[in-house]
Each structure stands twice: as C-alpha cells, then as structure tokens.
C-alpha cells in the first residue's frame, strides 16, 4: 500500500488542482454570460483565420519587435514544454519514470529542446522583469497599473522563472543519477542546459540527489497546478482567452459601429405615417421595462465585450497609442477594459453571496469606475483597436457608454448638445439654413 502513496497523493493533487480550475472556469463563464447576446455567427472562415493568425501566429505581437520576440519565446516555451507536462502527469499517475523514454532519439531531441526553451524563457522573463521594474516603460507605470496589476505582472514572471529553474534542476539531478546508475533512473534524454548545473551537484550522495530530483519534480508539477488556478485572478488568463477572443473579435471594418436595433424599431415607428402613437400595446409586445439604451453597467454590454475584459493582459499597447492619453487626458483604453473586468468580478461576487442572484449594490460601471471625462476624451480613432494584440475593442465599450449618457441621461457636453440640436433642426452640425447648402457653387 505504502508504495502507491505517491501515486495517490499525485492523483489527489491533480483532482484538487483541476477541480478548482473547473470551478473557476464555471464562474468565468457565468460572469461572461451576464452580457447581452450578440450575433457572432457570421464570417466563420475569417474568424478562424483571425484566431490562427493573431492568437496562434502572434502576428500582432511582433509589431513591437523586442517585446514580440520575447513573448513568442515564452509562448512557445509554454506550448512545447506542455508535452513534458503530459509525461510528468502520466508518470505521476502510473508511478513510472520518464514514460516516454522508449522514444529514443526522439525523446532526446524533445528533452533537449525543452531545456533550450526553458533557458530562453528564463532570459525572456528576466528581460520582461527589467522592462517593468528597472527601465519602467511608460505603459507599465500608468496610474491604472498601481497595486495589484503591478504585483500580478511581476508575480507571473516570478512563477515562470521558478518553474523553469525547477524543471532544469530536476533534469540536472536526474542526469547525475542516470550517470551513477541509480535504480529507476534509466539513461534517457539529452541535457544541453542542465548538464551545466550538474557539476554543482557533484559529491552529493545518491539519496540526496533523489531527494533533490523528487522535490523539484513535485514542486514543478504542483507549481503548474497552482499557476493554473492563479489564472482566474490574473491578467494571465489571456493565455487561454486570447483564442476565443480573437475568434469572436471584430470581422467588420473598424469604422463600422453597430446600429442599435432597439432604436431602429422606435425610429421606424416614428417615421411611419400609418403608426398610431396612442395605440395600446398588443399581446406580443415585450412586457415589462423598455430596453435601456447604451450601457451604464457591465450587464448592458454584450458577452464578447465581457470576454474581452477578462482577456485583457494589461500590456497597455492600446493606451500608449491613444491620442487622448498621449496628450495627458484621463482616458486610457486599457483602464476601460480593466474597469469592466473589475466591475464584472464585483458583480460576480455579489451573486456568489446571494445564491446566484444579483442584488444592486448601488454601484455601476459608469461613474464608480469609468468617468464621463474619460468617455468624452475619445476621438474614436481606433488606434487602441488596431494596437491590441488579442483583438479587444475598447472603443465599442466607450461608445456604448456614451450612448447611455446621451440617450438615457441627456448628459452630453453642452457644445455637443448644441451640435446635435443643429443637426436636428437644420441637418448640419452648424446653425446654417439647409436652403444654403448649395451656395458653394457660386462663391
């Protein structure tokens, strides 16, 4: 019985790790589904292409070459080293050691490439850390990056660093044990990187080496399971959500804003000479409250916008390209996404505390998170949309909130109200007579 103890402990750890992760995924999906429905069934081939190009192919990352290259290394490291994680998990369940070793040369090449990638990941992570903490790139020290977002950014780097070190230590000890001919440690794998760590282990007894190897092995896999559960509380969720987000992201020209259907119905009714404004509502009319125009809280946004909020990895490329932000205005497209996510999390927590029902907490996305000053500073230039490496559209949220301000609260800046009443009265943003529209011909 005792000899199966490690297997049992491993399976328990795995079940707990994956169990918690499943619970997080459920919460995440529930929160995202609080958003309004939106039709994303169009243009499937383009959507697949976008996902393959932008998420899988990282095409937008390399627009900034240094960060792009480093990111590709970490990304490849993550994807490829996961093959090793598969082996580790199988070993853990079955009580085997290096289960894939019979692959021979293929195995040697695999292990060697994992090691090289692990080293490259360590280098990239160090570069990233320096960019955040020593060089202090402007986009990483904006106001919205204070507190948890800053800690989170560094935490991810520390975790990745430690995981890679553990992986290499495990291999180094393993390599040493193989050479000593320890039982179970069959000769397998090629260790181009960890062979340089091995000399540090010289002189250690076989039992100490086994202890080191086992400890590194366990910490590595437990670390991965913990990291998996850290995702939900972190900007690091992007490693999963970048895929659906690039699929569901914009396939229409960036300049095309959606036409509000609820408004279309009302406008058609107003313009229909046969419509009777005093007509009693018929049976099939939607009962209850009339639909709210625009968005003042997260439930008024659509689910793709909410998915985007969770996808945002706070890289700040949007904000660094934003003309309003560059000229010192309060607007930061990244903050729009972070606020949306934080408010959605808050709403989710309220639901958790009230048996899944949302009970108003007297707060909302508008004013409590995002101020009108930020919303009115936007030039709708789409620079943020263009800059996002994972197809997030902060502009669509800004517009939705402006709609609420204007149509539900008549709270546009005075100059804009003047402009709009001019359009209403004489079909131009200036107070000129429509009859003068052709005067330019004879001037």
């Amino acid at each position: 019985m005792m000899e199966y103890l490690p297997n049992i402990l491993f399976v328990i750890a795995l079940i707990v790790g994956i169990g918690f992760f499943t619970r997080n995924v459920k919460k995440l999906t529930r929160n995202i589904k609080l958003g309004k429905d939106v039709d994303v069934s169009d243009n499937k081939p383009q959507r697949w292409r976008n996902m393959v190009r932008i998420a899988l192919g990282q095409t937008k990352m390399v627009v900034r070459p240094v960060a792009g290259l480093m990111h590709i290394i970490v990304y490849l490291g993550f994807i490829i080293i996961n093959i090793e994680v598969l082996e580790i998990i199988l070993d853990g369940i079955l009580g085997t050691h290096r289960l894939f070793a019979p692959l021979g040369t293929v195995y040697d090449v695999l292990i060697a490439s994992f090691e090289i990638l692990a080293l490259l990941v360590i280098v990239a992570v160090v570069v990233f850390w320096i960019r955040r903490n020593v060089i202090k790139l402007k986009r990483f020290i904006k106001p919205e990056m204070k507190g948890w977002p800053k800690t989170d950014g560094n935490m991810i780097l520390y975790i990745e660093f430690v995981l890679m070190i553990l992986f290499l230590t495990m291999n180094a000890a393993d390599f040493q044990l193989q050479q000593m001919g320890a039982a179970h440690y069959t000769k397998a794998g090629m260790f181009p990187i960890s062979q340089f760590i091995t000399p540090l282990l010289d002189g250690l007894s076989m039992s100490s080496l086994i202890l080191i190897e086992r400890t590194a092995w366990w910490l590595h896999i437990l670390g991965i399971l913990a990291f998996l559960n850290y995702l939900y509380y972190s900007k690091h969720l992007h490693i999963l959500l970048a895929f659906p987000n690039t699929y569901y992201g914009r396939v229409k020209p960036q300049g095309q804003f959606n036409n509000l259907e609820s408004v279309t119905n009302e406008v058609k009714l107003m313009m229909d000479p046969n419509a009777d404004p005093f007509e009693a509502p018929t049976e099939d009319d939607d009962a209850g409250e009339p639909e709210k125009f625009g968005a003042s809280d997260v439930m008024d946004l659509n689910w793709v916008q909410l998915l985007s909020a969770y996808t945002c990895t706070e890289c700040g490329r949007c904000t660094s390209e934003c003309p309003a932000n560059q000229t010192g205005k309060k607007l930061s497209p990244r903050k729009i996404m972070m606020d949306t996510r934080d408010r959605l999390e808050e709403v989710g927590k309220i639901m958790d505390a009230n048996k899944g029902e949302f009970v108003s907490d007297g707060k909302q996305l508008l004013n409590d998170y995002i101020t009108p000053e930020e919303l009115w500073a936007c030039t709708t230039c789409n620079a943020c949309v263009e800059a996002c490496p994972v197809s997030i559209d902060p502009l669509s949220i800004i517009v939705e909130m402006r709609r609420y301000l204007v149509m539900e609260q008549s709270a546009a800046p005075m100059e804009l109200n003047n402009m709009m009443s001019n359009i209403e009265n004489n079909g131009a943003p200036w107070p000129y007579n429509q009859m003068d529209r052709l005067n330019w011909v004879n001037e």
């Binding site: 095309q256 036409n259 279309t264 000229t327 010192g328 620079a383 943003p429 330019w440």
Partner: protein, 263 residues
C-alpha cells in the same frame, strides 16, 4: 466670383429623366465650412475637367448623422440615416462619392443595415479611378521639388484600410512624398474625430492636433496633404500653433491635384 462650376442636382436629373454616373455627397463641412468649400470646389473642377456626369442632392442633402452617432446619439443618427436613405433610394442612387471620410464610412458601413445599399467611394479613390481610366490626365511639373507628407484620416485609413489611393494621386504630381514616422495603420489622429471637433478637449497637457502637426513638421514638408475636411482644419490650426503657417500649407489631395492641373 470665380469661374462657373457645372453642378447639377438630382432633381434636375430626375426632371430630365436621367441618372448620373455618380452622386457627389458634399457633406456638411463641404457645404458650409469656408475652408472645406474650397475642397468641394477643387473636386468639382476635377469632375468637370474629366467630364463626369455627376449630381449633388443640393438643398435636399442633410447630415449623415455620423457625428451624432459618434457622440452617442443613436436616435438622431438613425433618424438622419433613414431620411437620407428614403431620399437616396427614391432617386435610385447606385454610387456615391464624397470628400469626407466620416460620411464615407457611415454611408458605406452603417447605412446598409438600415436599408441603404450603395457603392460608396472616397474622392481620392474616385480620382484615381478617373486617372486609371484615362479620363483625367495629370501632367506638368507643378509640384516638382516640393515635399508633401500625407496625413491619414482615421476614418479613411484605419477604419476602412484606404491607404494607397491618396498616395498614388500625390505621387502623380511629381512631388516628393515623405512619410511621417507614424503613418497608415499607426497614424495619429488629428484630434477631430468622435465629435471632438465640436467641443473643447478634456483637460490634458497638449492638444492632439498640435502633436500630430509636430509629426508632420518633422518631415520638413512644404505641404501637408490630407483627405478630410476636419483633419484639414485641425492640421491648419496645428501649423499656426507651431508658427509655421508661412512655410507650410495644408491642402486636400483634390486641391493638390487641381493645382497641378492649373484648375
């Protein structure tokens, strides 16, 4: 009064029982703004020169509603759009050309969902078409030795991926085309979009148009060309802020072309 332009309204075409080749959507700026009216006139001179059978809506034209939409007033936008669509569909309009990227964008992308389906082109695309078809020939060396930099309007460039047509037209004038560091997809906005043109900017440490004009001035141009009446105003103001109005001119691509043809 300058030379007479040949401009016919849709009503006149209707009365003759004819259809024009294209409808020229003048837009509110092009109709009322003193600076933008010069762009409208330059474009019409080019249309006249190429003998294009075009119409305008004249006093029947009304705001596309684009401005209202960007400001968040979807109601006003859709009211304007439906009125315009009723008019355009009544005239059986097939093809629309406009000098305003904002009208271009909304007519092209946002009107179809409300029942207005037209082939909409920006005037730079249309002028390129006229040249390609041999209907308009650009010759002469009017701009030889001059440096021109093109500022991409957001709603033409990023919003609708039209980058080449204006540049091709400019290069036809023998001018030296110089690019700003941020151009095409990464071009910085002039600051007018999203209804900003009609309000004071929020508190900050600089105006966007001053920053964008700085980008342009770094290329040491004689001319800053653009393809949008609002960009034109913003860049012109920016030049003044940098006190460069004596050495640098802001022109629309249509004006550059019309000048090089001595129109």
């Amino acid at each position: 009064m300058s030379e007479q332009l040949k401009v016919k309204t849709m009503q006149e075409f209707m009365a003759e029982g004819k259809q024009p080749e294209i409808l020229f959507w003048v837009g509110s700026a092009g109709s009322y703004d003193d600076r933008a009216k010069k762009i409208t006139r330059a474009f019409v001179k080019l249309l006249n020169k190429a003998e294009v059978d075009f119409a305008v809506l004249g006093t029947e034209e009304s705001s596309t509603g684009d401005l209202a939409k960007r400001a968040g007033n979807e109601f006003l936008f859709q009211m304007q759009a439906m009125m315009n669509i009723e008019l355009l569909n009544g005239y059986e309009i097939k093809r629309i050309v406009t000098c305003d990227p904002h009208s271009f964008n909304t007519l092209k992308n946002e009107y179809p969902g409300l029942g207005g389906n037209y082939d909409v082109v920006h005037h730079t695309q249309y002028l390129k078409e006229l040249i390609d078809q041999g209907r308009l020939t650009v010759k002469g060396e009017g701009y030889k030795g001059k440096r021109i930099t093109f500022h991409d309007p957001c709603y033409l460039g990023r919003a609708n991926s039209v980058y080449e047509a204006p540049r091709e037209l400019l290069s036809k004038t023998n001018a030296e085309l110089v690019e700003m560091k941020r151009h095409k997809k990464t071009a910085l906005c002039c600051g007018a979009g999203g209804a900003q043109m009609f309000k004071e900017p929020e508190k900050g440490d600089m105006d966007i148009n001053v920053m964008r004009t700085k980008d342009a001035l770094e290329t040491q141009p004689n001319i800053i060309a653009t393809g949008c009446p609002y960009c034109n105003t913003m860049m012109t103001d920016g030049i003044k802020a940098h006190e460069k109005e004596d050495s640098v001119t802001v022109l629309d691509v249509a004006e550059v072309l019309a000048n090089s043809l001595n129109l």
